[in-house]
Amino acid sequence: MAKVIVVTSGKGGVGKTTTSAAFAAGLALRGQKTVVIDFDVGLRNLDLVMGCERRVVFDFINVINGDANLNQALIKDKRHDNLFIFPTSQTRDKNALKREGVERVMEELKQQFDYIVCDSPAGIEHGAITALYFADSAVIVTNPEVSSVRDSDRIIGILASKSRRAERNEPPVDVHLLLTRYDPARVTKGEMLAVEDVKEILSIPLLGVIPESESVLRASNTGTPVVFDEDSPAGRAYVDAVARFLGETREMRFLKPERRNFFRALFGRA
Protein backbone atom coordinates (compact mmCIF):
# COMPACT_ATOMS: atom_id res chain seq x y z
CA MET A 1 0.00 0.00 0.00
CA ALA A 2 1.41 3.36 -1.05
CA LYS A 3 2.33 5.74 1.72
CA VAL A 4 1.91 9.52 1.57
CA ILE A 5 4.59 11.58 3.34
CA VAL A 6 4.26 15.34 3.76
CA VAL A 7 7.39 17.43 4.27
CA THR A 8 6.21 20.48 6.17
CA SER A 9 7.34 23.11 8.68
CA GLY A 10 5.06 26.14 8.85
CA LYS A 11 8.05 28.43 8.57
CA GLY A 12 9.69 29.15 5.23
CA GLY A 13 13.35 28.73 4.37
CA VAL A 14 14.06 25.88 6.78
CA GLY A 15 14.80 23.29 4.09
CA LYS A 16 11.50 21.70 3.04
CA THR A 17 12.32 21.46 -0.66
CA THR A 18 15.91 20.34 -0.01
CA THR A 19 14.51 17.70 2.36
CA SER A 20 11.77 16.61 -0.06
CA ALA A 21 14.33 16.15 -2.84
CA ALA A 22 16.82 14.36 -0.59
CA PHE A 23 14.19 12.18 1.08
CA ALA A 24 12.54 11.13 -2.18
CA ALA A 25 15.93 10.36 -3.76
CA GLY A 26 16.93 8.48 -0.59
CA LEU A 27 13.78 6.33 -0.77
CA ALA A 28 14.45 5.64 -4.46
CA LEU A 29 18.02 4.57 -3.63
CA ARG A 30 16.51 2.09 -1.17
CA GLY A 31 14.53 0.50 -3.99
CA GLN A 32 11.23 2.23 -3.28
CA LYS A 33 9.39 3.60 -6.29
CA THR A 34 8.91 7.21 -5.28
CA VAL A 35 7.30 10.37 -6.64
CA VAL A 36 7.93 13.81 -5.16
CA ILE A 37 5.16 16.39 -5.68
CA ASP A 38 5.55 20.17 -5.51
CA PHE A 39 2.54 21.68 -3.68
CA ASP A 40 3.91 25.22 -3.79
CA VAL A 41 1.66 26.47 -6.60
CA GLY A 42 2.90 29.73 -8.08
CA LEU A 43 6.36 29.37 -6.51
CA ARG A 44 7.62 26.27 -8.26
CA ASN A 45 11.11 25.29 -7.09
CA LEU A 46 11.28 21.55 -6.65
CA ASP A 47 12.04 21.23 -10.39
CA LEU A 48 15.17 23.39 -9.96
CA VAL A 49 16.36 21.56 -6.86
CA MET A 50 15.83 18.24 -8.66
CA GLY A 51 17.55 19.55 -11.79
CA CYS A 52 14.64 18.93 -14.19
CA GLU A 53 13.43 22.51 -14.77
CA ARG A 54 13.90 22.27 -18.52
CA ARG A 55 11.86 19.10 -18.81
CA VAL A 56 8.60 20.46 -17.36
CA VAL A 57 5.81 20.32 -19.92
CA PHE A 58 2.61 19.63 -17.96
CA ASP A 59 2.05 20.20 -14.28
CA PHE A 60 -0.08 19.24 -11.26
CA ILE A 61 -2.81 21.77 -12.10
CA ASN A 62 -2.99 20.57 -15.73
CA VAL A 63 -3.60 17.03 -14.45
CA ILE A 64 -6.19 18.15 -11.89
CA ASN A 65 -8.04 20.08 -14.60
CA GLY A 66 -7.87 17.15 -17.00
CA ASP A 67 -5.72 19.02 -19.55
CA ALA A 68 -3.05 16.32 -19.37
CA ASN A 69 -2.86 12.81 -17.99
CA LEU A 70 -0.62 11.81 -15.11
CA ASN A 71 2.04 10.06 -17.18
CA GLN A 72 2.45 13.11 -19.42
CA ALA A 73 3.20 15.28 -16.38
CA LEU A 74 5.45 12.93 -14.39
CA ILE A 75 9.17 13.50 -15.02
CA LYS A 76 11.43 10.49 -14.69
CA ASP A 77 14.67 11.30 -12.89
CA LYS A 78 17.77 10.72 -15.03
CA ARG A 79 19.86 9.48 -12.09
CA HIS A 80 17.50 6.85 -10.73
CA ASP A 81 14.83 4.66 -12.31
CA ASN A 82 12.67 4.62 -9.16
CA LEU A 83 12.45 8.38 -8.86
CA PHE A 84 9.82 10.66 -10.43
CA ILE A 85 9.13 14.38 -10.10
CA PHE A 86 5.66 15.86 -10.33
CA PRO A 87 6.08 19.61 -10.87
CA THR A 88 3.53 22.25 -10.02
CA SER A 89 2.24 25.25 -11.93
CA GLN A 90 4.23 28.46 -11.92
CA THR A 91 1.39 30.63 -13.23
CA ARG A 92 -1.66 29.69 -11.16
CA ASP A 93 -2.30 30.51 -7.53
CA LYS A 94 -2.60 28.16 -4.59
CA ASN A 95 -6.40 28.11 -4.67
CA ALA A 96 -6.18 26.17 -7.94
CA LEU A 97 -5.55 23.08 -5.78
CA LYS A 98 -9.08 21.75 -5.32
CA ARG A 99 -9.24 19.01 -2.74
CA GLU A 100 -11.35 16.62 -4.87
CA GLY A 101 -8.95 17.01 -7.78
CA VAL A 102 -5.91 16.42 -5.57
CA GLU A 103 -7.60 13.37 -4.07
CA ARG A 104 -8.23 11.87 -7.51
CA VAL A 105 -4.58 12.41 -8.53
CA MET A 106 -3.32 10.95 -5.23
CA GLU A 107 -5.42 7.82 -5.70
CA GLU A 108 -3.99 7.42 -9.19
CA LEU A 109 -0.41 7.89 -7.91
CA LYS A 110 -1.00 5.29 -5.20
CA GLN A 111 -1.56 2.69 -7.91
CA GLN A 112 1.93 3.31 -9.33
CA PHE A 113 4.19 4.22 -6.41
CA ASP A 114 5.39 2.96 -3.04
CA TYR A 115 5.94 6.45 -1.62
CA ILE A 116 4.42 9.82 -2.45
CA VAL A 117 6.46 12.68 -0.99
CA CYS A 118 4.55 15.99 -0.78
CA ASP A 119 6.69 19.14 -0.65
CA SER A 120 4.51 21.63 1.25
CA PRO A 121 4.58 25.40 0.80
CA ALA A 122 5.35 27.51 3.87
CA GLY A 123 2.54 28.90 5.98
CA ILE A 124 -0.73 27.41 7.19
CA GLU A 125 -2.93 28.57 4.33
CA HIS A 126 -4.78 26.56 1.70
CA GLY A 127 -1.68 25.20 -0.09
CA ALA A 128 -0.04 23.93 3.10
CA ILE A 129 -3.29 22.40 4.38
CA THR A 130 -3.86 20.64 1.04
CA ALA A 131 -0.29 19.27 1.11
CA LEU A 132 -0.75 17.72 4.55
CA TYR A 133 -4.40 16.66 4.21
CA PHE A 134 -3.77 13.23 2.64
CA ALA A 135 -0.63 12.39 4.65
CA ASP A 136 0.02 9.11 6.42
CA SER A 137 3.37 10.37 7.76
CA ALA A 138 4.84 13.82 8.23
CA VAL A 139 8.43 14.98 8.30
CA ILE A 140 8.54 18.18 10.35
CA VAL A 141 11.54 20.15 9.11
CA THR A 142 12.79 22.35 11.95
CA ASN A 143 15.79 24.63 12.43
CA PRO A 144 17.24 24.94 15.95
CA GLU A 145 15.84 28.44 16.26
CA VAL A 146 12.87 29.87 18.20
CA SER A 147 10.55 30.88 15.35
CA SER A 148 11.03 27.62 13.50
CA VAL A 149 10.35 25.52 16.62
CA ARG A 150 7.22 27.51 17.40
CA ASP A 151 5.88 27.14 13.85
CA SER A 152 6.65 23.42 13.91
CA ASP A 153 4.57 23.08 17.06
CA ARG A 154 1.72 24.83 15.30
CA ILE A 155 1.89 22.61 12.23
CA ILE A 156 1.99 19.48 14.46
CA GLY A 157 -1.27 20.73 16.00
CA ILE A 158 -2.78 21.27 12.55
CA LEU A 159 -1.79 17.75 11.46
CA ALA A 160 -3.59 16.42 14.53
CA SER A 161 -6.77 18.36 13.81
CA LYS A 162 -7.11 19.11 10.08
CA SER A 163 -5.64 16.11 8.25
CA ARG A 164 -7.93 13.58 6.62
CA ARG A 165 -6.90 11.01 9.22
CA ALA A 166 -8.02 13.40 11.97
CA GLU A 167 -11.30 14.20 10.22
CA ARG A 168 -12.08 10.52 9.73
CA ASN A 169 -11.02 9.53 13.26
CA GLU A 170 -8.39 7.21 11.83
CA PRO A 171 -5.02 6.55 13.52
CA PRO A 172 -3.19 9.90 13.58
CA VAL A 173 -0.56 11.04 11.09
CA ASP A 174 2.79 9.59 12.08
CA VAL A 175 4.95 12.68 12.78
CA HIS A 176 8.75 12.78 12.72
CA LEU A 177 11.16 15.55 13.64
CA LEU A 178 13.96 16.36 11.22
CA LEU A 179 16.33 18.96 12.60
CA THR A 180 18.19 20.76 9.80
CA ARG A 181 21.00 23.33 9.60
CA TYR A 182 22.39 22.00 12.88
CA ASP A 183 25.72 23.47 13.94
CA PRO A 184 27.28 21.30 16.68
CA ALA A 185 30.05 23.85 17.38
CA ARG A 186 27.52 26.55 18.18
CA VAL A 187 25.47 24.11 20.27
CA THR A 188 28.58 23.32 22.32
CA LYS A 189 29.05 27.03 22.94
CA GLY A 190 25.44 27.42 24.07
CA GLU A 191 24.57 29.59 21.12
CA MET A 192 22.11 27.19 19.50
CA LEU A 193 19.31 24.97 20.80
CA ALA A 194 20.57 21.40 21.18
CA VAL A 195 18.79 18.48 19.54
CA GLU A 196 17.64 17.25 22.98
CA ASP A 197 16.08 20.66 23.69
CA VAL A 198 14.06 20.70 20.47
CA LYS A 199 13.01 17.08 21.01
CA GLU A 200 11.88 17.85 24.53
CA ILE A 201 9.92 20.96 23.49
CA LEU A 202 8.13 19.41 20.52
CA SER A 203 7.92 15.91 22.05
CA ILE A 204 7.81 13.99 18.78
CA PRO A 205 10.23 11.22 17.73
CA LEU A 206 13.49 12.31 16.10
CA LEU A 207 14.10 11.06 12.57
CA GLY A 208 17.44 12.74 12.01
CA VAL A 209 19.74 15.69 12.42
CA ILE A 210 21.13 17.28 9.26
CA PRO A 211 24.29 19.27 9.91
CA GLU A 212 24.75 22.73 8.42
CA SER A 213 26.82 21.90 5.37
CA GLU A 214 28.25 23.68 2.37
CA SER A 215 27.28 20.71 0.25
CA VAL A 216 23.56 21.62 0.50
CA LEU A 217 24.03 24.84 -1.47
CA ARG A 218 26.35 23.05 -3.87
CA ALA A 219 23.64 20.43 -4.43
CA SER A 220 20.93 22.99 -5.17
CA ASN A 221 23.31 24.97 -7.40
CA THR A 222 23.70 21.93 -9.61
CA GLY A 223 20.18 20.54 -9.24
CA THR A 224 21.28 17.31 -7.56
CA PRO A 225 19.55 15.93 -4.45
CA VAL A 226 22.20 16.01 -1.72
CA VAL A 227 21.97 12.25 -1.03
CA PHE A 228 23.76 11.66 -4.34
CA ASP A 229 26.83 13.42 -2.89
CA GLU A 230 28.47 10.62 -0.95
CA ASP A 231 31.12 12.89 0.56
CA SER A 232 28.56 15.25 2.03
CA PRO A 233 27.82 14.99 5.78
CA ALA A 234 24.32 16.35 5.08
CA GLY A 235 23.81 13.77 2.33
CA ARG A 236 24.89 10.94 4.64
CA ALA A 237 22.64 12.28 7.41
CA TYR A 238 19.67 12.20 4.99
CA VAL A 239 20.53 8.63 3.98
CA ASP A 240 20.46 7.70 7.69
CA ALA A 241 17.13 9.49 8.19
CA VAL A 242 15.57 7.57 5.30
CA ALA A 243 16.90 4.30 6.74
CA ARG A 244 15.33 5.13 10.12
CA PHE A 245 12.08 6.02 8.38
CA LEU A 246 12.12 2.54 6.82
CA GLY A 247 12.51 1.02 10.28
CA GLU A 248 16.27 0.62 10.64
CA THR A 249 18.08 1.61 13.81
CA ARG A 250 20.99 3.91 13.11
CA GLU A 251 23.00 5.94 15.54
CA MET A 252 22.78 9.74 15.15
CA ARG A 253 25.89 11.17 13.52
CA PHE A 254 27.30 14.67 13.16
CA LEU A 255 26.14 15.79 16.62
CA LYS A 256 29.66 16.70 17.79
CA PRO A 257 31.84 19.47 16.39
CA GLU A 258 34.40 18.24 13.88
CA ARG A 259 37.77 17.53 15.43
CA ARG A 260 39.73 19.76 13.11
CA ASN A 261 37.90 22.75 14.58
CA PHE A 262 39.22 22.03 18.07
CA PHE A 263 41.87 24.77 18.11
CA ARG A 264 39.60 27.28 16.50
CA ALA A 265 36.93 26.56 19.10
CA LEU A 266 39.48 26.88 21.91
CA PHE A 267 40.96 30.19 20.86
CA GLY A 268 37.85 31.74 19.37
CA ARG A 269 37.01 32.19 15.77
CA ALA A 270 38.98 34.55 13.62
Binding site: V149, R150, D153, G190, E191, D197, I201, F267, G268
Partner: protein, 98 residues
Amino acid sequence: MGLFRSLFPPRRTSASIAKERLKIVLAHERASSRAPDFLPILQRELLAVVGRYVEISDDMIRVTLGNSGDTSLLEINIEIEGSKPKKGGSGPALSAAV
Protein backbone atom coordinates in the same frame (compact mmCIF):
# COMPACT_ATOMS: atom_id res chain seq x y z
CA MET B 1 38.19 34.82 24.04
CA GLY B 2 37.39 31.15 23.44
CA LEU B 3 39.73 30.06 26.21
CA PHE B 4 38.38 32.70 28.57
CA ARG B 5 34.81 31.64 27.85
CA SER B 6 35.53 27.99 28.44
CA LEU B 7 37.17 28.79 31.80
CA PHE B 8 34.50 31.25 32.92
CA PRO B 9 31.31 30.30 31.17
CA PRO B 10 28.53 32.92 31.26
CA ARG B 11 25.81 31.91 33.70
CA ARG B 12 23.06 31.62 31.09
CA THR B 13 23.60 30.84 27.47
CA SER B 14 21.35 32.30 24.79
CA ALA B 15 20.30 28.75 23.88
CA SER B 16 18.97 28.14 27.41
CA ILE B 17 17.06 31.42 27.26
CA ALA B 18 15.59 30.33 23.91
CA LYS B 19 14.51 27.01 25.39
CA GLU B 20 12.81 28.60 28.36
CA ARG B 21 11.00 31.21 26.25
CA LEU B 22 9.78 28.52 23.86
CA LYS B 23 8.49 26.35 26.69
CA ILE B 24 6.45 29.21 28.11
CA VAL B 25 5.00 30.46 24.84
CA LEU B 26 4.15 26.97 23.59
CA ALA B 27 2.48 25.95 26.85
CA HIS B 28 0.26 28.99 26.48
CA GLU B 29 -0.47 28.46 22.79
CA ARG B 30 -1.21 24.77 23.17
CA ALA B 31 -3.68 25.47 25.96
CA SER B 32 -5.53 28.11 23.95
CA SER B 33 -5.58 26.07 20.74
CA ARG B 34 -7.08 23.08 22.55
CA ALA B 35 -9.81 25.20 24.12
CA PRO B 36 -13.28 24.48 22.75
CA ASP B 37 -14.99 27.14 20.64
CA PHE B 38 -17.66 27.93 23.20
CA LEU B 39 -15.28 29.38 25.80
CA PRO B 40 -15.17 32.95 24.45
CA ILE B 41 -18.99 33.02 24.14
CA LEU B 42 -19.39 31.61 27.65
CA GLN B 43 -17.02 34.27 28.92
CA ARG B 44 -19.01 37.03 27.21
CA GLU B 45 -22.35 35.81 28.54
CA LEU B 46 -21.01 35.42 32.08
CA LEU B 47 -19.67 38.92 31.86
CA ALA B 48 -23.08 40.19 30.83
CA VAL B 49 -24.85 38.40 33.69
CA VAL B 50 -22.40 39.46 36.38
CA GLY B 51 -22.34 42.95 34.89
CA ARG B 52 -26.01 43.31 35.73
CA TYR B 53 -25.14 43.25 39.42
CA VAL B 54 -21.65 44.71 39.71
CA GLU B 55 -19.53 46.91 37.53
CA ILE B 56 -16.89 44.72 35.94
CA SER B 57 -14.67 44.91 32.89
CA ASP B 58 -13.48 42.34 30.34
CA ASP B 59 -10.18 41.65 32.02
CA MET B 60 -11.76 40.73 35.36
CA ILE B 61 -13.13 37.41 34.17
CA ARG B 62 -11.07 34.35 33.25
CA VAL B 63 -12.52 31.14 31.86
CA THR B 64 -10.19 28.20 31.39
CA LEU B 65 -10.65 24.53 30.68
CA GLY B 66 -8.01 22.31 32.22
CA ASN B 67 -7.46 18.65 32.88
CA SER B 68 -6.75 17.01 36.19
CA GLY B 69 -6.48 13.27 35.91
CA ASP B 70 -9.53 11.85 34.17
CA THR B 71 -11.76 14.85 34.70
CA SER B 72 -11.98 18.09 32.77
CA LEU B 73 -12.09 21.14 34.97
CA LEU B 74 -13.92 24.25 33.88
CA GLU B 75 -12.54 27.08 35.94
CA ILE B 76 -14.25 30.45 36.07
CA ASN B 77 -12.56 33.24 37.96
CA ILE B 78 -14.32 36.54 38.38
CA GLU B 79 -12.47 39.20 40.21
CA ILE B 80 -14.75 41.88 41.66
CA GLU B 81 -12.77 43.34 44.50
CA GLY B 82 -13.30 47.08 44.53
CA SER B 83 -16.16 46.91 42.06
CA LYS B 84 -19.18 48.93 42.88
CA PRO B 85 -22.41 47.00 43.29
CA LYS B 86 -25.09 48.21 40.95
CA LYS B 87 -28.41 49.30 42.32
CA GLY B 88 -30.81 46.46 42.79
CA GLY B 89 -28.00 43.90 42.63
CA SER B 90 -27.60 41.03 45.05
CA GLY B 91 -24.88 40.53 47.68
CA PRO B 92 -21.32 41.76 47.08
CA ALA B 93 -19.34 38.52 47.44
CA LEU B 94 -19.04 36.85 44.08
CA SER B 95 -16.02 34.77 43.30
CA ALA B 96 -16.68 31.44 41.74
CA ALA B 97 -14.47 28.50 41.03
CA VAL B 98 -16.55 25.67 39.61
